[in-house]
């Protein structure tokens, strides 16, 4: 992750404290204003319990002299998240697991006299294959009788997008990118099928909840409300958790999810390609890998199984869902599947476009895998080879890329419905374009196919 000195751009809303970088290290300043709650978090044993069970990011307390701004109570050094990802880049089950983590944390907090004051999906990150709460400052001492302040946020950040993905269309997960504080409930209610009104949990937490928001939008209400007993609060949490658990989505029959069954690769050629990629990675020795167009992650695993933190990016939510389910089942610690489109990468969003980083800002990757991708960029998306080479050179330090010629059946399929306006699309043209930005280290035809695999290093400009 990009680590410029000073406060982290997305960390200024909460007066309790903030994150900052100093000399390449990430710190969290806890402000005096948060003293009571922080002490409670530690003295109640909640922090230790959550950290031991892998639900909350671990940290060590540092010298107060490291504080970045006046008013510091503590300075913490949290464990680093290898790659920061955002809810709109997660597959259905990733968002669901993040929601269930939030609920699990809230239940344990209540049992120890604390409560979450935020239920933001951005407070969850995937580390070693599992969701982890990364905001140590999202707890507060729970005064008996107080309703859950984060109820709305939980519904908007988790329940609404999950319901839309499961009950309307999985691609609606991307709505979270447009709405920084989660999907507005009136929008979710309008987009959800009418039959969701017959599911008690969605009727209450989304449809009626949205109506209530609308009703009190411009109406005066009593500042002091009836209290909410601890038991009723637990019931509310239980109901929300049940609502999340009931939602499910299984990928079937989308464009890419069955890709490996449809390629013109034979089983042996795939195995060979896997060995060639492994060899090239051994030579390049990257510390991080992005696999762009990863599908269900067959080649990403060549990197991740060698212990290299790997991001497997694919445009198809079904492929990413399958990939994540496999990660979860096999407890894979180095692979992070994400939904993303390299021709339209996640932009920077929020205040000054800086609260959530663009995909490219979170790079560069040490090595990038671009296997069976170039024809989709050059022919499917009309991107000139020179532009592709220049862009990839900014996104990575080294590159393993496969050239797929026009003779290949996959390219023939792309060209079947297009005019061939790509006279420069051949191995020589490809090499000429890439040599402007990369130094070619290895060039190996893949036996049994017309394709060529290259290992390259970006030229330092």
């Amino acid at each position: 992750m990009a680590s410029s000195e000073g406060p982290v751009a997305g960390s200024f809303r909460d007066p309790s404290g903030f994150l900052f970088w100093r000399e390449g290290r990430l710190y969290r300043q806890v402000n005096e204003a948060y003293r009571e709650h922080y002490d409670r978090l530690v003295s109640s044993g909640l922090a230790a319990e959550l950290q031991a069970d892998g639900l909350l990011v671990k940290h060590e307390e540092c010298a107060l002299g490291l504080a970045e701004a006046p008013g510091a109570y503590k300075v913490l050094r949290p464990e680093l998240v290898p790659f920061v990802s955002y809810p709109y880049e997660w597959s259905f089950s990733q968002l669901k697991d993040a929601a269930l983590l939030t609920m699990a944390v809230q239940k344990r907090a209540l049992a120890r006299g604390l409560s979450l004051k935020d239920a933001s999906a951005y407070n969850v990150q995937f580390v070693h294959g599992r969701p982890l709460l990364i905001d140590t400052l999202s707890f507060e001492a729970y005064p008996e009788g107080r309703p859950w302040i984060a109820y709305r946020q939980f519904c908007q950040h988790f329940l609404a997008p999950l319901a839309l993905m499961a009950r309307r269309d999985v691609r609606l997960g991307r709505l979270s990118q447009l709405h920084l504080d989660g999907v507005p409930l009136d929008l979710a209610a309008e987009l959800l099928p009418g039959r969701t009104r017959f599911a008690f949990s969605l009727l209450t937490h989304i449809h009626l909840h949205a109506r209530s928001q609308k009703r009190y939008e411009d109406r005066p209400v009593a500042a002091r409300q009836r209290p909410l007993s601890r038991f009723a609060l637990r019931a509310l949490i239980d109901s929300l958790e049940g609502a999340v658990r009931k939602l499910d989505w299984r990928p079937r029959g989308t464009e890419w999810a069955d890709y490996y069954e449809q390629t013109n690769y034979s089983g042996e050629a795939l195995d060979l390609k896997e060995r060639m990629v492994a060899d090239m990675l051994r030579e390049l020795r990257p510390r991080s890998v992005w696999d762009v167009g990863a599908n269900t992650g067959r080649f990403s695993r060549v990197a991740s199984r060698a212990g290299i933190p790997t991001v497997a990016l694919d445009i198809d939510p079904a492929a990413v869902e399958k990939n994540y389910r496999q990660c979860r089942r096999d407890d894979e610690r180095f692979l992070l599947p994400l939904v993303g489109d390299i021709t339209n990468p996640s932009p920077g969003i929020g205040w000054e476009n800086g609260e959530r980083l663009s995909l490219l800002q979170r790079g560069p990757a040490d090595a990038l895998l671009a296997l069976a991708l170039i024809h989709h960029l050059a022919i499917g998306n009309n991107l000139p080879l020179g532009k592709v080479a220049g862009s990839l050179a900014r996104a990575c330090r080294s590159l393993v890329i496969e050239f797929v010629p026009k003779a290949d059946s996959q390219v023939r399929r792309l060209l079947a419905t297009r005019e061939d306006i790509f006279p420069g699309y051949h191995a020589q043209g490809f090499e000429a374009a890439f040599q402007e930005h990369f130094e070619v280290r290895r060039r190996e035809p893949i036996a049994g196919t017309d394709r060529i695999l290259y290992a390259m290093s970006a030229r330092k400009n």
Partner: protein, 74 residues
């Protein structure tokens, strides 16, 4: 004197009104107000089924405990 009595009466009225009707805030723009009130209403509903669930689980545990003890003796 009259003015004083009137002033006292008005003060009493204002006091009574302010005691009868609590302070009011407006939920302009902020959808949080509706959420806050809604959860209090809905929590009362779900608390009933939650209570049934909790006690049902306790009963099941108790019964299961009886049987496992019996098994233990045998």
């Amino acid at each position: 004197m009259k003015i004083l009595r009137h002033a006292l009466r008005m003060t009493g009225l204002v006091l009574a009104v302010s005691l009868l009707f609590p302070r009011r805030v407006y939920g302009y723009i902020d959808p949080g107000t509706g959420s806050y009130i809604f959860q209090i209403v809905i929590a009362a509903f779900v608390a009933v089924s939650f209570a049934v669930k909790v006690y049902w689980n306790k009963i099941k545990k108790f019964v299961a405990g009886l049987f496992s003890k019996k098994n233990g003796v045998q």
